[in-house]
């Protein structure tokens, strides 16, 4: 940090450097947030017509079965990301972490490739792969294991299909974070533990886990934030819909339907606040847990 006693530059210089950020922040972040806080108590018919409705947006929301379906689906997806995808990503990172593995750069590149395809394109591709009868998945499973080729993924098993598609896309991406974290593991400590007779699981539990904890906590939070804002994957996999009986409806898709298909931006703002409060709560819980475990250590 500069700590020069006599200032050697004109006073406006730092403000000049910050001007673009502050300008964009005030107009496109701070103002919309304030606006959203008032819009949440309005009903809109398109962006031009609004009417105050008090707390009714929130009472309508809790009475709307579709909202609860969205909450349920979003929660299932987030749980699958944290409890299935992240452990698999860690597993993959552990496999690749050994310097005995040949071609680590190549393996890493292969596993990382799906994230480069981008969410909308993964969704479009997955929509075709999960198609019954003609899709790659059912045809392959049928040829290999005699799996029912008419298995209706996109009609009745939407959430499993979404979870599989997201797994394919993100497992290698999250592996990169864990690989970076595994560089923090003290190799001498691992060896010492082995000399002392600790088995593989004990070494993993007591040496590796504590070392990767900070990054793991960060990845869990990123995963939750991403999962709770899931939109493109189901929306495009299900041909710009929520699927039969809203089986692929997520909270952001609910927000989108209310705000843009129905044109009620006020109601959509209310949904946005519910989502934001949930995410703030996650962030707080996460920081409390990681502080507590730091204190324990």
């Amino acid at each position: 940090m500069s700590s020069t006693t006599a200032r050697q530059y004109p006073a406006w210089v730092p403000y000049f450097f910050l001007l673009p950020f502050l300008g964009v922040f005030l107009v496109f972040i701070a103002y919309p947030m304030l606006l959203s806080a008032t819009m949440a108590f309005q009903q809109n018919a398109g962006p031009g017509v609004s009417e105050p409705v008090g707390l009714k947006n929130f009472t309508w929301m809790v009475q709307d079965p579709a909202f609860w379906i969205a909450v349920k689906n979003t929660t299932i997806f987030a749980a699958a990301s944290v409890f299935i995808q992240l452990p698999a990503a860690l597993g993959l990172a552990l496999l690749l972490n050994s310097d005995k593995i040949k071609g680590r750069g190549l393996w890493r590149m292969i596993f990382f490739a799906p994230v480069l395809v981008g969410l909308p394109f993964v969704a479009i591709l997955a929509g075709l792969i999960f198609e019954k009868n003609t899709g790659l998945l059912n045809v392959t499973l049928n040829a290999l294991f005699g799996f029912d080729q008419e298995f209706p993924w996109l009609q009745e098993f939407v959430m499993p299909a979404l979870i599989v598609a997201a797994f394919w896309m993100y497992v290698g991406f999250n592996m990169i974070y864990f690989l970076a974290a595994l560089q923090n593991v003290n190799k001498d400590l691992l060896e010492a533990a082995q000399v002392d007779g600790a088995n593989a699981w004990q070494r993993f539990r007591n040496v590796t886990i504590p070392a990767i904890k900070p990054v793991a906590a960060f990845v869990v939070l990123l995963s939750l934030i991403g999962s709770f804002q899931l939109f493109e994957l189901p929306y495009l996999m299900l041909n710009e819909s929520a699927g039969p009986e809203n089986r692929g409806l997520t909270l952001v898709m609910y927000l989108y339907q209310q705000g843009f298909d129905r044109g009620d931006l006020g109601y959509a703002s209310a949904v946005g606040w519910v989502l934001a409060v949930a995410l703030f709560a996650f962030a707080i819980v996460q920081s409390v847990i990681s502080k507590r475990s730091e204190a324990d250590a």
Binding site: P20, V24, M33, G118
Partner: protein
């Protein structure tokens, strides 16, 4: 966890075999959709439905060349207008990435290297904005663009994203850790102005961060669907993400054409990645390392 150092070579080999087997299975699952995409883009609708990968029962190694076609590409380029959408994507992503990197670096530099009234508050604002979910801004953002008359314009699509708090934060960290104050003071003594110091002395010191941030912003903009879907209405202004999604029309669906369009959309990013792999991974993990 590295594979345990077993006492006997035999057990070591078995462990490694299992590890490689797992890696191969994972890699196959990862790569098969790419192969599927590649073949499907060159198949007629008829052979798309008949064969998963290449059309078989032909004369040459069981490959039926008649099953392949360039029709998808012809329609895509000459009728559907994918060239325009590709140019749009390049334009939107380039402008966003360059401006976002420049403005983030400027903001981060001010917070890292100057003492001024309001610095603490601004730093707090930057950190606080990291916690604002995008979903909260969708509806009010649309309302604002409507009032400003910026719907269906590139200004409305690009401007809100040109100074991300995330970038300001990353550059602040980068300047604190890799730009010595003495360097700035020496330049000042030599009579160098502050703007020139920023461009000629400060920016070159954080070159890795510039590369990484350009790439992640470029990738994020290229793959952004929801913003253009909401902001852009004219068909000729759409980027590839929305354009390819719209190829799946309600009336006719040409699977081969959707696949060819997807291939067009993902190829530039894949090529960019292969060229700049190191920067890319550094950029994506930048947030995690500094926490």
């Amino acid at each position: 966890m590295s594979a345990p150092n077993a006492a006997s070579t035999k057990r070591f080999d078995l462990n490694m075999l299992i590890v490689y087997l797992l890696l191969v299975v994972f890699a196959t699952i990862t790569l098969v959709p790419f192969v599927y995409l590649l073949f499907s883009a060159f198949k007629s609708t008829e052979s798309f439905f008949s064969f998963v990968f290449w059309p078989t029962q032909g004369a040459w190694y069981d490959v039926d060349w008649q099953g392949f076609t360039l029709d998808n590409w012809r329609t895509l380029f000459f009728e559907a207008g994918i060239v325009r959408a590709t140019v749009n994507s390049f334009f939107i992503s380039s402008v966003t990435a360059i401006l976002a990197t420049l403005f983030s670096a400027m903001g981060g530099y001010a917070l890292a290297k100057y003492r001024f009234r309001g610095r603490g508050l601004t730093t707090l604002v930057v950190l606080g904005s990291l916690a604002i979910p995008f979903a909260l801004l969708i509806a009010p953002g649309y309302q604002l663009l409507y009032w400003l008359g910026l719907l269906d314009t590139y200004t409305g699509l690009i401007l809100p994203g040109v100074a991300p708090a995330f970038g300001v934060y990353l550059f602040r960290q980068a300047f604190i850790s890799s730009l010595p104050d003495a360097l700035i003071e020496a330049a000042r003594i030599d009579g160098c102005g502050d703007i020139r110091i920023f461009f000629q002395i400060a920016l070159p010191m954080v070159r890795p961060m510039i590369g990484a941030f350009l790439l992640i912003t470029y990738l994020a903009t290229w793959n952004n669907f929801i913003s253009p879907q909401i902001v852009i209405q004219s068909a000729d202004k759409l980027p590839l993400s929305v354009f390819v999604a719209q190829l799946r029309g309600p009336y006719s669906t040409s699977y081969g054409m959707i696949m060819a369009g997807t291939l067009v959309a993902i190829t530039p990013v894949l090529v960019l990645f292969l060229l700049l792999q190191r920067d890319f991974i550094a950029g994506l993990t930048a947030g995690a390392v500094k926490g």
